[in-house]
């Protein structure tokens, strides 16, 4: 990794950390469980790294490692988003719930 790309990566990291702090400290305790599963799904973005590893064909070992990583990461992405949606659909205001 060149020094320029390290510096720009550090900028991204630092700014994302500040932004993350601002955004996440506004999430009410009510939604902490959905928050955890949502961030989990989002960090399943490591899938993009796994995809390249699984498809680049450097060696059999790295293909296998990449394949397992793709399975794990896509489980997180799909499972995480599905379950977050499912949870969020349950949070209702009073008027909607009167008769179910």
């Amino acid at each position: 990794m060149s020094h320029e790309s390290l510096i720009s990566a550090l900028y991204v990291f630092a700014l994302a950390a500040f932004l993350g702090y601002q955004v996440i400290s506004r999430v009410p305790p009510l939604l902490h469980t959905p928050l955890m599963s949502a961030t989990n799904a989002i960090s399943g973005i490591s899938l993009v790294g796994s995809i390249v590893t699984a498809g680049a064909g450097h060696s059999t070992t790295s293909t296998i490692l990449g394949f397992v990583a793709v399975v794990c990461a896509s489980t997180n992405v799909v499972g995480g988003f599905v379950i977050t949606d499912r949870m969020l659909r349950m949070f209702k205001r009073r008027d909607v719930t009167k008769k179910d």
């Binding site: 305790p29 989002i42 993009v48 790294g49 992405v77 969020l88």
Partner: protein
Amino acid sequence: MQTYFIELSYLLASILFILGLKGLSHPETAKRGMHLAEFGMLMAIIGTLMHHEIVTYTWILAGLAIGSVVGLAMGVWVPMTAMPQRTALSHAFGALAAALVGVAEYLKGAGHLDTVTMSALGFEVMLGSLTTTGSLLAFAKLQGMVRGTPMTYKGQNVFNMLLLATTVGIFIYLVINPGSMTLFFIMAGLAFVFGLLLVMPIGSADMPVVMSLLNSYAGLASAATGFVLSNKVLIIAGTLDGFSGFILSILMCRAMNRSITNVLFGAFGSATTAGESGEQQGSMREVGLEDIATQLAYANKVVFVPGYGLATAQAQHAVRELADVLEKRGVTVKYGIHPVAGRMPGHMNVLLAEANVPYSSLYELEQINPEFATTDVSVVIGANDVVNPDARDNPSSPIAGMPILEVDRSKSVVVLKRGQGKGFSGLENPLFFKPVTGMLYGDAKDTLTRLVQAVQHA
């Protein structure tokens, strides 16, 4: 051209992820936010599939197919009561993916990795490995496959510290000499072991903190992957996840008035800390179901205080039914939720939402505490430490200073409990001995269902 398209898809994904998390600041905007994030993820995946390094799609598509099916199955069928276990498992998956990509990158570049890349790679593999095993053990404890009580032995902390120091030592050596493959795998192996040792001494009651910490580690492992691959969207998403977990762990610790160090190394709730609160005077007063039903039926305001016992008894629907019956009679019903009630942050809120309790009835600690003085009946369901007045009144108590739900200030307290045993912390709870308190033993779901009938006839 192609590279631009990929990078633009990553940029779009990063923006949508942030908007998605911003949406979570309110239940009304949360769903739309998540759809944005989902769309962002889709774009990033499509973009990645055009990467020039990819020569074969067989394994990618197979992996995506298996992962999607497993993920979908888990997403659709996992019951809300099992949410902590599911989350622990997904931390393990996320961390494992990061660790494996790290190992593959190491094998690819073995020998000629520069210092910066090797440092990021080492972090990635170390954090990824320890989070994988740590989360799996947390999963096993939550699922009841392993005892939830802390497992301790003599010299545990010293041993763990030595192991961690060795792992970090190897890591530093590797940064200087990236070539020694054997040491690289020893480091990964030690990190796997350390993950287990880290979670072993932690009791079930401290799970909310551990879950948040593992969440944070899994995110940081992803962010480190981003540094290794010079991939900005990975850095952003990983950092957001890492910080989210970090903020949650701080909130959880604050809600217990303990430091992270104390949670991780204190082995809280093991047999050794029990019995410190000393002798307890008086006796518990058992009350009849009919009495409670009458009290509830003629009350003006009732506050329910749920704890982990609500989840184990699957009593969330029964509570809602009781609340419905009471509300029909004109009783004001509220729910007081302690931040660490349950096994993960927000656990109780999700369970009650599942039972169709409107979120406007769920109150946080600071909101509900001033209300207890005007509450006629507080109903404690399977909660113990979060309502223990010792935390407020007894400075020598192990949980002294922990903010509690002050149910003992209400006119009457009913405690629904499975048996006469102590809570997970092993502490005596003076609340149970107070004159205002009545104990109602039995399975919470069963008791609540019978209360519904009794109130209807009152």
